[in-house]
């Protein structure tokens, strides 16, 4: 039941029809039942995994909270790590590692057939595993008291707006809000959530889903694609993945707001970034903050010298890449961003502004160059296989093979020239809005919500109608659902 499917519209209407009439514990129970139903619409058996993860971290955190023995606390944390990462390793990474090991041995001349598991990747497993793991680590660090109510905790793990693709919420932020839902004075719904839902749906259905066929066509066979077409598809993918994922996050935040719950902001105009550190403060903020707090800082962060900092950055981003998917091209993408972070940390990039007099022009050049570096990263991310990465990069980076004139002739002959020009214009406008606005959807919706009610209503109708009318015939699943 994807957020942009008609099934979700039915679910949404039924949910919010009943929601206002409930108070206290029944309200929380209703939310939990709806969340489990939402998850079961993908796969009912895999709901057991979600329940298992909930039970494990609830019990372990309670036991950690009760114990003062450091060894026992460490053992309990180890149990949680083993349980959560074990599930991830089994369901998400086992086949990847088994195949990779077999391929590695094959390269050494040893023929080994690795047994593989015929299992389905549970939707949202990477998100809820990180969320529950973060909670247990917070309790272990004594940053958070263990949750006393199993119902509150089950809601924290399964809260349907952010269950399958984030934002990855911190327990300290979300748990008190969920607890408050059953209070005598529950939080009031924030109706600006409708604005976020409309904007998120527009981004997903109108932009991302219509860009998808352009990207898919080129990346289906990069070896035979025209190099400029590959550039065009790479730009298109940059906006497809942004609109797809940030659209999902907007809808999640919007739906939660209608219940009076505030979720973390996940995107803040990422393509306005001037460097990699800035980019990761704007892209998938909840994941990069998680990786910073639970991986990068425990590894030593930037406090142990230049080389250790570089190692920590690389390791964090490698694992961040692997978090996205069990494939080498995701690892390569993570390594690429790790390298960017290491290189840009040297400081030359930031010193450019102060050493040259033409500051706006230099900022423009920095932004332009970094946007293209991000796009090269997306090419690695979108490549069908690791082998294709080499072909794609060779085509993108070798100007001798671009044959721009010949390609434009082919575009003209294909009859698709005006369509591509239209999308190029749309992408340029989106880029401009991000580069100049430098703010996320929440700010745009807050501005929209300050408009007179009639105008606000018309904007909502226009956004919803555009979704109905401009949706492609074949709906596309959210890209981040596969992670």
């Amino acid at each position: 039941m994807s957020f942009t499917s008609p099934a979700f519209v039915v679910f949404f209407l039924l949910f919010f029809w009943l929601w206002p009439s409930l108070r206290g514990r029944p309200r929380q129970l209703f939310l939990l039942a709806a969340s489990y139903l939402f998850y079961a619409s993908w796969s009912a058996p895999l709901l057991l995994l979600l329940l298992g993860s909930t039970l494990l971290d609830f019990s372990v955190a309670r036991a950690i909270g009760r114990s003062d023995d450091p060894t026992r606390r460490r053992q309990l944390l180890g149990l949680s790590l083993l349980g959560n990462l074990g599930v991830l390793a089994c369901f998400k990474y086992y086949n990847f590692f088994a195949d990779s090991a077999a391929a590695g041995l094959h390269a050494l001349g040893l023929e080994v057939s690795a047994p593989t598991l015929a299992i389905v990747l549970p939707v949202g497993i990477s998100f809820y595993t990180f969320q529950t793991l973060g909670y247990t680590i917070d309790v272990y660090r004594r940053n958070l008291a263990p949750c006393a109510s199993p119902l509150d905790f089950a809601l924290y793990v399964a809260f349907f707006p952010q269950l399958v693709a984030g934002p990855i919420e911190r327990a300290g932020h979300l748990l008190p809000q969920l607890r408050a839902l059953s209070s005598a004075d529950p939080p009031r719904p924030d109706l600006s959530g409708f604005g976020l839902i409309a904007l998120g749906a527009f981004k997903k259905v109108v932009i991302a889903d219509n860009l998808a066929p352009i990207v898919d066509a080129v990346y289906a066979d990069p070896a035979h694609a025209w190099a400029p077409a590959l550039w065009f598809a790479t730009y298109a993918f940059a906006f497809q993945i942004y609109c797809d994922f940030s659209g999902y996050s907007d809808i999640a935040v919007g739906v939660a707001r209608l219940m009076g719950v505030s979720l973390t902001q996940n995107f803040r105009a990422p393509y306005a970034a001037l460097g990699p550190a800035d980019f990761w403060r704007r892209w998938h903020i909840s994941l990069s903050a998680w990786l910073r707090d639970y991986l990068y800082l425990p590894l030593g962060g930037n406090r142990s010298g230049r080389w250790r900092t570089a190692r920590n950055l690389l390791l964090t981003m490698l694992l961040g890449g692997l978090w996205h998917g069990a494939a080498w091209h995701f690892v390569l993408w993570g390594a690429y961003h790790g390298l960017l972070l290491v290189i840009f940390r040297a400081g030359f990039w930031d010193r450019l502004n102060t050493r040259l007099p033409l500051r706006p022009l230099v900022s423009l050049i920095r932004w332009f160059v970094f946007f293209h570096l991000v796009c090269l990263g997306w090419a690695l991310f979108r490549a069908p296989t690791l082998g294709d990465c080499q072909v794609i990069l060779a085509k993108l980076l070798d100007p001798r093979g671009w044959q721009l004139g010949a390609w434009l002739g082919e575009v003209e002959a294909s009859g698709e020239g005006r369509l591509l020009a239209l999308w190029a214009l749309v992408m340029a406008m989106l880029l401009l809005v991000q580069a100049l606005g430098r703010v996320g959807s929440e700010v745009w919706v807050a501005r929209m919500w300050r408009a007179p009610p009639a105008l606000r209503f018309l904007l909502l109708v226009a956004l919803f109608y555009a979704c109905v009318l401009l949706a492609p015939e074949a709906p596309q699943p959210f890209i981040y659902f596969q992670f």
Binding site: S5, V9, F16, D221, H224, V411, S414, F457, V461
Partner: protein
């Protein structure tokens, strides 16, 4: 309830915009295709032969060919097909006929294999929602519950009814695309991205039990309801170009499953005669104009086979 203050006016506004856009008889081809059916349906009372299904079920069965074959006059044949009308749409028409207490001596229903896996196309939902009498909605929803994604189907049915626009989106998009960007040449379109034309792909039903469960349930309900309306029902299994690829085990298995499922449906209903045109008739790519609709050669082959099968079944 404050949420509804937003939702209801938004849905009403969507409905209003749709009225302006797609009810003017110039936009909304999918709706207008049904208007042709409406016209033929209301004009034709007291007919004895009912033709039902999509264009592939009837475009090779013109009245001038069928009437002498069945020994009836041409005006006795009611062509109740709608373009793209699959089983659920045909079922909606049959429910409507039941509501109007119509009766026929013979009903001919043609089904394709690829239709078995296609139940969520916006056009199908538009047709079902437009043609189905309101009292039969629970029946339709119960049938959708047999499908892979009952909530999705129910949502589309609801969304289409409330906004009115859902079924026309693909058409409006293609119209706007033509108006803004010029008509698309499918044979040349690949040239902007690749030096080599990608292989053509056609819809193919893998006949996985979960995917066809809904369509078989609808076909069963459709046959039962047709049995109430008509003395005799002819269920025709229509061929398509995938019959030329039976060397491929997955295609072969899909066709065998398709035939077996329909043989079972017919065997359990004595008033149904199954005519399988997928064995000895059109099967080569040259027999089809687009993989599903027949070429001239295909029509000739299919008509000959149909006549033979009809005679063998004692209906001629």
């Amino acid at each position: 309830m404050r949420h509804l203050l937003y939702i209801v006016p938004i849905l009403l506004a969507l409905w209003f915009v749709d009225q302006c856009l797609s009810r003017d008889r110039s936009v909304g081809w999918e709706r207008n295709a049904m208007r042709g059916f409406e016209w033929r349906w209301t004009k034709a009372d007291g007919r004895s032969v009912l033709l039902i299904g999509s264009s592939t079920a009837v475009d090779w069965l013109p009245p001038e060919y069928l009437a002498p074959l069945l020994g009836v006059s041409r005006p006795q044949i009611l062509d109740a097909h709608v373009n793209g009308c699959h089983q659920d749409c045909a079922h909606a028409i049959v429910r409507r006929a039941a509501l109007e207490a119509r009766h026929f001596k013979l009903a001919i229903l043609g089904v394709n294999q690829f239709q078995q896996c296609d139940d969520l196309h916006p056009k199908r939902i538009l047709q079902q929602h437009t043609l189905l009498p309101t009292r039969d909605w629970p029946r339709a929803l119960a049938l959708h519950a047999r499908g892979e994604q009952p909530m999705l189907a129910a949502g589309r049915l609801l969304g289409n009814t409330l906004s009115g626009a859902y079924g026309d989106t693909a058409f409006l998009q293609s119209q706007w695309r033509d108006a803004l960007l010029g008509p698309r040449d499918a044979k040349q379109a690949h040239r902007w991205y690749t030096r080599e034309a990608p292989p053509k792909t056609r819809p193919f039903c893998d006949y996985a039990p979960a995917r066809v469960a809904y369509k078989l349930a609808v076909t069963a309900a459709l046959l039962d309801d047709l049995g109430e309306l008509s003395d005799r029902v002819v269920l025709v299994l229509l061929p398509d170009a995938s019959l030329s690829q039976l060397a491929d085990p997955s295609r072969h298995a899909a066709w065998e499953a398709h035939r077996a499922a329909h043989q079972q449906l017919a065997a359990s209903r004595p008033f149904v005669t199954l005519i399988d045109l997928s064995r000895d008739g059109a099967r080569l790519p040259a027999d089809f104009s687009d993989g599903f609709h027949l070429s001239k050669r295909g029509i000739s082959l299919q008509q000959q086979l149909f006549a033979r099968e009809l005679a063998a079944a004692g209906l001629r």
